[in-house]
């Protein structure tokens, strides 16, 4: 019962944040609405028994990625990005109809062998299991190390791409 109530609360937060982010006039405010979405998704992870993943989501998405996007919004010109309702409605209708079709196809012949909610075993704290799975060679050790290399490459690459170049920008020469 408590799980159902928390599922509804968190999914309303997540979907509502997404709706506000889509229809909000100012892009900065839709970035703040996405904070709500990410926190709601973290709550959904909690109701699924994924405690470690929920806190990772709060730390990385809400604390890291969205702050990065806010920095990006504030480093660029705060020009009025107009809200093109026609284009939003078109995109929403198109993707929603495709998603409905796909969802319906999935559910028409769905036999995933999923347990009903009443028969699920009680969730255990997942952090220890995840750590062991990451650091065992028969688990995900190589993928884990590869991910760290990818993060290092992304860090160096983004610093290289975003650095301020000396000399006039090529766009001014062309014009």
């Amino acid at each position: 019962m408590g799980l159902q109530i928390s599922f509804w609360i968190f999914s309303v937060i997540a979907v509502g944040g997404g709706l506000i982010a889509l229809f909000e006039r100012s892009v900065v405010r839709s970035a703040f609405a996405l904070f709500g979405t990410f926190l709601g998704v973290a709550g959904l992870f909690l109701t699924l028994g994924a405690d470690f993943l929920a806190w990772t989501q709060v730390l990385i998405y809400a604390g890291g990625i969205m702050v990065l996007y806010l920095f990006g919004l504030m480093l660029t010109k705060p020009s009025p990005f107009e809200r093109n309702l026609r284009r939003i409605g078109l995109a929403l209708g198109l993707t929603a109809s495709f998603a409905l079709l796909f969802f319906w196809r999935l559910f028409a012949g769905a036999e995933w062998g999923a347990l009903p909610a009443a028969e699920l075993p009680a969730p255990e704290p997942a952090a220890r299991g995840i750590g062991l799975a990451f650091l065992r060679p028969e688990g995900w050790l190589y993928a884990f190390e590869f991910a760290s290399i990818i993060l290092l490459l992304a860090l160096i690459g983004s610093v290289y791409i975003a650095r301020r170049r000396s000399g006039p920008p090529p766009a001014e020469e062309a014009s």
């Binding site: 799980l3 599922f7 997540a14 997404g18 982010a21 889509l22 892009v27 839709s30 970035a31 996405l34 979405t37 998704v41 959904l44 699924l48 028994g49 994924a50 993943l53 989501q57 990385i60 998405y61 890291g64 990625i65 990065l68 919004l73 660029t76 010109k77 020009s79 990005f81 809200r83 284009r87 078109l90 995109a91 929403l92 198109l94 993707t95 929603a96 998603a99 969802f103 995933w112 999923a114 347990l115 009903p116 699920l120 969730p123 997942a126 990451f134 995900w140 993928a143 991910a147 990818i150 993060l151 992304a154 690459g157 610093v159 791409i161 975003a162 301020r164 920008p169 090529p170 766009a171």
Partner: protein, 101 residues
């Protein structure tokens, strides 16, 4: 809650993210839509891991890898956006049409 409820929430979030990316108000807005799409995929991964016990923790580990790649994507994408801004003076995707002309 059953598996289908989580899949439904994930589908709604996916549609919202896709519409954000397709609305193309600004490059950063498109990137935020992509993050929403990745979050929807994560909900699916974790929900299947919970409702099918033979998957176990592997679903959550997949979701962690998605978060890692999303962080890398955000850093690279933002660097590209800043570069585009310093070159074109705008980050509206409709204004950046040099190749189209």
């Amino acid at each position: 809650m059953e598996l289908g409820a989580y899949l439904a929430v994930s589908a709604v979030l996916f549609v919202l993210g896709m519409a954000m990316a397709a609305a193309r108000r600004s490059l950063i807005y498109v990137l935020m839509g992509l993050e929403l799409i990745l979050n929807a995929a994560n909900i699916n991964l974790v929900a299947f891991a919970r409702f099918k016990p033979e998957i176990g923790l592997d679903g959550q580990i997949g979701a962690i890898f998605v978060i890692i790649l999303a962080a890398a994507e955000a850093a690279i994408g933002l660097a590209i956006v800043l570069n585009v801004y310093s070159r074109f003076g705008t980050i509206r995707p409709d204004d950046i049409d040099e190749l189209r002309q």
